[in-house]
C-alpha cells in the first residue's frame, strides 16, 4: 500500500509540474462542452428561402405566411423566373425554394388541386428532411381546412387526433441529448492519452526499468500509476456535471451516486486502453497518435452524435465493440430519463465485461513488454 501511495504521490507531483497536462484536464471538458453544447444543433431554424409566387393571390400569400410563421424559414427574396430561383439555390444563397403555380388561387376556389413545388438543397439531408416535413404539414393543414369547409363540418376537429409528447427532452434540444454522452467522450479523449504517455515516457527515460528492479509488484505498479488518472477522471466528471447544470440546465434526473459509480467503471476501461496502447507504442509520439486514432471510433460509433439506428448492419455490429456506446447509454439513461441501475442492467453488463476484458489484457501484455 505504501509503495502504491508513493507512486501515486510521485505521479501527482509530476502532473502538477506539467502545465500542459494541467490545462488539458480543465480545458478539454470546457471546450468540448461549449462546442458540442452550443454549436451542434440538429434543429435547423431560419432556413433561407426564396419564393417564386406566380399566383399572387390571398391563397398563395397564406401558404408563404404560414411557412414564415413557423420560424424555420426566412424568406430572403422573391424571384420572378425559374432561372433566378435556380441561381439562388445553386449559389447556396437559399436552401429552400418555393414555386407557387399561376393557377394556385383559382384552383383552390374551383376545388381542383392547387399546385406548388418545394425545392430543397438535399445535399444536407438532415436540413432538407426537416424542411419537407414542415411544409408537408402546412399543406395538409390547409387541405384539411378546405375539405372540412367544403363538407360543412362545424368544428375544426380532425379525424385523427394525434398529440405528440416528447418525453425526457420536451423542448427537443440537441444539447440535452449530446451533453450527457460528452462525459464519456471527454474521459476517453484525455485519459487514454494521459495513461499511455505516462507509461511510455517512463519506459523511454529508463525510469520504468528502475522501478522494476525494486520490490514493487506488477499490480502495485499499475495501480499506483493509474490512481492519479482515476482522480483526474472524477475531477473532469464533476466539472462537467456542474457545467451541464449551470450552462445548459441539464440536471441528472437519476441517482448521482449511480452516475459516479458507473463513470468509474468506464474510467477503468479507458485507463486499461491507455495501458494497452503503452504496451504497443514505442515512443510518446506513437502513444499520442494511437490514442487519437482510438478516439475516432469512440466518437463516431458510440451513438454520441450519429444515431446508431441509422447505420448499416455491419456498422451497428462494430458499434457493439465500442465500450463508449454502453457508457453513453448509461449516462443518457441516468441524466435524461432518471433510469435506475436496474433499468440499465444490460449496458452495465456489457460495459463491465469490456472493462474486465481490457484490464486483463492490459495487465498480461504489460507483463510481457516489461521484459
Amino acid at each position: 500500500m505504501r509503495r502504491m501511495l508513493a507512486l501515486t504521490w510521485k505521479e501527482l507531483l509530476q502532473i502538477k509540474r506539467d502545465p500542459m497536462t494541467m490545462k488539458m484536464i480543465v480545458m478539454v471538458p470546457v471546450m468540448q462542452l461549449l462546442i458540442f453544447g452550443y454549436a451542434i444543433n440538429y434543429d435547423v431554424k431560419h432556413m433561407t428561402t426564396v419564393v417564386m409566387d406566380e399566383s399572387r393571390t390571398f391563397e398563395s400569400r397564406e401558404l408563404v405566411d404560414k411557412m414564415q410563421a413557423t420560424g424555420y424559414f426566412d424568406i430572403i427574396g422573391r424571384v420572378d423566373s425559374y432561372q433566378e430561383l435556380r441561381t439562388s439555390i445553386d449559389s447556396a444563397t437559399a436552401l429552400v425554394g418555393l414555386v407557387i403555380d399561376r393557377d394556385f388561387g383559382k384552383d383552390s376556389h374551383r376545388g381542383a388541386p392547387a399546385k406548388a413545388f418545394l425545392i430543397v438543397n438535399a445535399s444536407d439531408s438532415t436540413t432538407s428532411n426537416q424542411a419537407t416535413g414542415i411544409v408537408s404539414g402546412i399543406a395538409s393543414g390547409i387541405s384539411l381546412k378546405v375539405l372540412s369547409t367544403k363538407a360543412g363540418w362545424k368544428s375544426a376537429a380532425t379525424p385523427v387526433d394525434l398529440r405528440i409528447r416528447p418525453w425526457y427532452n420536451p423542448e427537443l434540444r440537441t444539447a440535452d441529448f449530446i451533453i450527457p454522452g460528452l462525459i464519456a467522450i471527454v474521459l476517453t479523449f484525455t485519459l487514454v492519452q494521459f495513461t499511455a504517455i505516462s507509461i511510455v515516457k517512463e519506459r523511454e527515460l529508463g525510469t520504468l526499468e528502475q522501478l522494476q528492479v525494486t520490490p514493487i509488484t506488477r499490480w502495485q505498479l499499475i495501480l499506483g500509476k493509474i490512481v492519479p488518472f482515476v482522480l483526474i477522471g472524477y475531477v473532469q466528471t464533476l466539472l462537467m456535471v456542474v457545467l451541464m447544470g449551470w450552462l445548459f440546465e441539464v440536471h441528472p434526473q437519476g441517482s448521482v451516486a449511480a452516475l459516479y459509480l458507473l463513470t468509474g467503471l468506464y474510467i477503468a476501461a479507458v485507463l486499461g486502453l491507455g495501458i494497452l496502447i503503452s504496451t504497443i507504442a514505442q515512443t510518446q509520439m506513437q502513444a499520442s497518435n494511437m490514442s487519437m486514432m482510438l478516439v475516432m471510433p469512440f466518437v463516431f460509433l458510440s451513438g454520441y452524435v450519429f444515431p446508431i439506428g441509422g447505420m448499416p448492419t455491419i456498422f451497428q455490429w462494430l458499434c457493439k465493440l465500442v465500450p463508449a456506446n454502453y457508457a453513453i447509454q448509461i449516462l443518457r439513461g441516468i441524466v435524461l430519463r432518471g433510469a435506475t441501475m436496474r433499468d440499465l442492467r444490460e449496458p452495465i453488463f456489457w460495459l463491465s465485461l469490456y472493462t474486465v476484458g481490457i484490464i486483463g489484457l492490459a495487465v498480461v501484455r504489460f507483463k510481457k513488454t516489461a521484459e
Binding site: 505504501r2 509503495r3 510521485k10 525510469t207 528502475q210 528492479v213 521484459e371
Partner: protein
C-alpha cells in the same frame, strides 16, 4: 573450468535467454563471491547486459536458475530478492521533473524505508556522495557526473547486499570515472557490499577482484585477473623496432608462431601461440630490441576470443 568459490553469495547455473531465435545468453554458469567486485567483460552485444538483467530480476531466463542469499530464487522470491539487491544502469534513470530529494524520497518509499530512516539515509548518502547542495535542485539541471552519483545513491538507499552496475561510467569524463570507482571500492572494502559490474573499459576491469569474459552469449573464461593472465605469462613480447613499426606489422601477423600482433604506441606487441614461444622470441629479436612483458586483460580477452573462434570453426567444419 570454474574454480569453486567458497560460500558464494549468488549462484548462476546454466542460464539461457533467447529472444526469438537469437540466443543472448547461452548456458551461463558462475558464482559471485561475497564482498568482492565482480566484473563482466565483453564487447557490446555480447550478452553482458542480458545476463546482469536476469540476475537483477528484470528478465526471466528461458532456462536455468539464479539462486543466492541463502536459498532465495530470483524467479520465485522476486520481491525479497529485489529488496536485497540494487541496480543502476548506464541510462540515467531518475525523474528529471522531480528534485534530487524527491527522487530519493520516492525510491526510498518504494523500498519500504520509514520516514525517519529515509531522512537519515538520504543525509548520509548525500554527504558521502557529495551532493548535499544539490538536494533541492531539479534533477534536470544536474550534470552527467552529478546525476550518476544521485542515481547511485538511489540504488543504495535500502542498503543492498548486492549492487548491479550496468556500464555505470558510460559518458562520464575520466575524473568522474575515477571518483565513481573510488566509491565502488569503498562500498566493497568498507561496507562489505558485493558489486557486479559490466564494463568494456579494460582499466576498470583490471580493478575487479574477479572477472568473467562474455562473448556471443557464452561465458568463455572466469577467475581472478592474475589467474586469467597466467596462461599468457611469458608469451607477450614487446619490441622497440629500429625502423617503422607499421611496416613490420603485416609480417608479424602472418607468422604462425603468433596469436596476435598489434601496435602499442611506437612499440610492437607480439602474442605467441601456446607452443610458439621460442619462434616468437626469435621473430621479436629480428625486429629489434625486445623483452617479455606482463600480459594485459586485453591480451587475455583477444587470445580467448581467438581460441573461441577457432573452436567454433572446428565444430562447424
Amino acid at each position: 573450468m570454474t574454480p569453486a568459490v567458497v560460500d558464494p553469495l549468488v549462484q548462476v547455473r546454466e542460464v539461457t535467454r533467447k529472444f526469438g531465435a537469437f540466443v543472448a545468453a547461452d548456458r551461463v554458469s558462475f558464482d559471485v563471491p561475497r564482498g568482492q567486485i565482480f566484473g563482466f567483460l565483453g564487447p557490446n552485444g555480447s550478452g553482458k547486459s542480458t545476463t546482469i538483467r536476469m540476475l537483477a530480476g528484470l528478465l526471466a531466463p528461458t532456462s536455468g536458475t539464479v539462486t543466492g542469499f541463502g536459498g532465495l530464487d530470483v524467479a520465485k522470491d522476486t520481491e525479497r530478492w529485489k529488496q536485497r539487491t540494487g541496480y543502476m544502469s548506464q541510462k540515467f534513470s531518475l525523474y528529471v521533473d522531480l528534485t534530487v530529494a524527491e527522487n530519493l524520497r520516492f525510491f526510498g518509499s518504494i523500498y519500504g524505508l520509514s520516514r525517519s530512516a529515509l531522512k537519515d539515509r538520504v543525509g548520509e548518502l548525500a554527504s558521502r556522495l557529495k551532493f548535499e547542495p544539490l538536494l533541492s535542485s531539479m534533477t534536470r539541471t544536474l550534470s552527467t557526473g552529478q546525476r550518476q552519483r544521485v542515481a547511485l545513491a538511489a540504488a543504495l538507499l535500502h542498503e543492498p547486499e548486492l549492487l548491479f552496475l550496468d556500464e555505470p561510467t558510460g559518458g562520464v569524463d575520466p575524473r568522474g570515472r575515477r571518483m565513481f570507482w573510488d566509491l565502488i571500492y569503498d562500498l566493497a572494502a568498507v561496507r562489505k557490499m558485493t558489486v557486479l559490474v559490466t564494463t568494456h573499459y579494460m582499466d576498470e576491469a583490471e580493478q575487479c577482484d574477479r572477472l568473467a569474459f562474455i562473448l556471443n552469449g557464452k561465458l568463455i573464461a572466469e577467475g581472478e585477473p592474475g589467474d586469467l593472465k597466467q596462461g599468457l605469462r611469458g608469451r607477450i613480447f614487446e619490441v622497440s623496432p629500429s625502423g617503422d613499426p607499421f611496416t613490420l606489422l603485416p609480417a608479424a601477423q602472418q607468422s604462425g608462431a603468433l596469436e596476435d600482433a598489434y601496435l602499442f604506441g611506437i612499440r610492437l606487441r607480439l602474442v605467441a601461440t601456446h607452443d610458439g614461444t621460442a619462434d616468437a622470441a626469435r621473430l621479436a629479436d629480428s625486429f629489434g630490441p625486445s623483452q617479455t612483458t606482463e600480459p594485459t586483460l586485453e591480451d587475455v580477452f583477444v587470445s580467448l576470443a581467438r581460441r573461441q573462434a577457432a573452436a567454433t570453426d572446428k565444430v562447424q567444419s
